[in-house]
């Protein structure tokens, strides 16, 4: 009994002492930080440029989101402009003007290009990686792999130029023949003579997605290839002894082995469903196929007259900059929600997440 009391007393003393120390530490926190900073000043000096850069280029623009709620006038600073509230957003989304039709068209196109891109573009790098891993001749495998990565490093301007020229429809008088791929499709009977598939609305998605796969699938396979190579060969051996054929081995050894990589890549893909590579659409689309090709980002660029030197860049119709800002904001918000949502679901389901 007595012993217990002594122990309790000692405990109280210890708690008090600990609290005192914590208090003291809290009080001298900034002093200690400062001493640390003084000692490691060089490290902090090294961080100044990067912090300044990210502040100026990535965080400062966030205040510009307000443009969506203002009557944009480029003579004034963002903070001084007339407040319009949700006028632009409302007008854009629910009005009877062409703007509304075009906005929802752009939204639908963004979504469908991304979804088709996901459905067709996601599995192909995985299949490619499977096949690469099956090639046991190392030299041959490296050569095919290295060649397949190459298009990924070529600029979008060059890729789209080549695509445009290869898909060209030729001219009316027949003095200029159609591009080499159009020619091939005509010979195969897929398209009729004289159809210009480069600008026909019904072909845009296929062109976009196929050229995306052509450009990116090789490079995209690297990460899966690494995952496959990381699987212990003993697992295959065991499966084979159990009588699994090649398909069963893929199904029961390879795919489960690369599951974490698959999940992460799938979240990344779903998270970026709305951020269609706008540069590519911008370079590839044509007035004549806006009905399937115009996506939110390109719509924002046109509405804000970014390319033509009007609107946001001075002069031109200024209220449309506010509309562009509103469409832009809509795009950013949904994209952000998709990233967070995909991340959340994956954390729940598989304990793999980005952040």
């Amino acid at each position: 009994m007595k012993n217990d009391q002594i122990i309790i007393q000692e405990d109280v003393l210890q708690v008090e002492r600990r609290e005192k120390i914590i208090d003291e530490m809290e009080r001298t926190k900034w002093k200690r930080y400062w001493a640390q900073v003084k000692k490691d000043w060089a490290l902090y000096l090294m961080l100044i440029p990067v912090i300044m850069f990210f502040f100026l280029v990535r965080y400062l623009p966030i205040s510009g989101i307000l443009v969506a709620f203002k009557n944009y006038d480029n003579a004034l600073a963002i903070g001084d402009q007339d407040f319009y509230g949700f006028f632009a957003l409302k007008n854009l989304m629910f009005s009877d003007q062409t703007r509304t039709v075009e906005f929802w068209r752009a939204f639908r196109n963004t979504f469908s290009i991304s979804m088709y891109g996901l459905i067709f573009g996601f599995p192909i790098p995985i299949i490619l990686a499977l096949f690469f891993s099956e090639i046991k001749n190392e030299l041959y495998r490296s050569i095919t792999q290295i060649l397949s990565y190459l298009p990924n490093f070529i600029s979008m301007v060059v890729i789209t130029s080549i695509v445009s020229l290869m898909l060209a429809g030729g001219n009316q008088s027949g003095t200029v023949a159609p591009g080499v791929i159009t020619q091939l499709l005509i010979n195969l009977g897929v398209v009729e003579q004289g159809v210009n598939i480069r600008i026909e609305p019904e072909y845009f998605r296929s062109i976009y997605i196929i050229s995306d796969i052509w450009q990116g699938a090789g490079y995209g396979s690297i990460v899966y290839f690494a995952a496959i190579m990381g699987i212990n060969p003993v697992s295959y051996e065991a499966a084979r002894i159990d009588g699994a054929n090649k398909l069963a081995q893929v199904r029961y050894v390879t795919l489960p082995g690369m599951a974490p990589t698959l999940t992460i890549m799938l979240i990344l893909r779903i998270g970026s469903v709305l951020s269609v590579g706008f540069e590519k659409v911008l370079l590839l689309y044509d007035v004549q196929n806006y009905s399937t090709s115009d996506v939110l980002s390109t719509y924002v660029i046109r509405l804000g007259s970014l390319m033509s030197g009007g609107g946001a860049s001075g002069g031109g119709s200024q209220i449309s900059v506010s509309f562009a800002g509103a469409a832009d904001l809509f795009n950013s918000l949904i994209a952000m929600m998709l990233v967070l949502g995909a991340n959340f679901v994956s954390r729940r389901v598989s304990e793999t997440s980005l952040f």
Binding site: V50, I62, G64, F132, L150, M156, A217
Partner: protein, 289 residues
Amino acid sequence: MNRLDKTELIFKVLAYTVATLFAIAALYPFIYTFSSAISGRQAVESGSVVLFPVDVQWDAFNDIIRGQYAKGFWIAYSNTIFYTLYGTLFSMLISVFAGYALSKDRLIFRRQINFLIVFTMWFSAGMIPTYLNYKRLGVDGRWGIIFAFGAQAFNIVLLRNYFSGISKEIEEAAIIDGANEFQVLWKIYIPMSKAAMATVTLFYALNRWNGYFWNRILVPDVDHPLQVFLRIYLDTTVNDPDQSLFNYNYSTQSMLYAMIVMSIIPIIIIYPYLQRYFAQGVNVGGVKE
């Protein structure tokens, strides 16, 4: 042959076929581009160039290298070299410093700063605010562009992860010998992370070399890099379906193809030697904080 061997064989045949076809498909457009650049006008316009050049001529190359189109072309080319050279240098400077500082556990607010950088990978203010911000900052010329596309979160994270994997013992020894932070970075960390340095340098350089949209809308014509020059030329070609621009022995298409070849030659030349680094970035992964 039992059933087990059969699926294996089919799979193997399929693997070789698909890999080979994919590699050929990846290469073909570039071969076609080169062949078309050096084929005669008649051959290109009638569509008889499929793989190899027909009626070889070198006038398209000649005209852009030292003929009447050379001036605009070389201005754009030197702009691109300028952006790539100084831009990569600038990007590497801030990224290496940032990656090094953030790889130190003793850094106060390390997690917070990390978050601020990683956050930019997932959220962007949008195109209009970004544009208005660049305008307000006065990004309207060559140095502005160098600054505006300074650093990318992914590359900083990549360097940070690599730096944190380097053993601390050598560093501690160097500090006892009186080395300062900059000497440690320069003499120990950078030489020990050649692979990561090469990868990140390459990524930055490629981004600069290939950049198009912002270069086009932010800087005046004289400062346009090659990609913008190429695109403007393509617009004139495409808008002229009869391709009647000149009466030469090569077609307008060949001109464009020749420019494309000139613009990708540096990449094609370094690619075989550096492909290891090109392929490395994706595997470093581990972006997670």
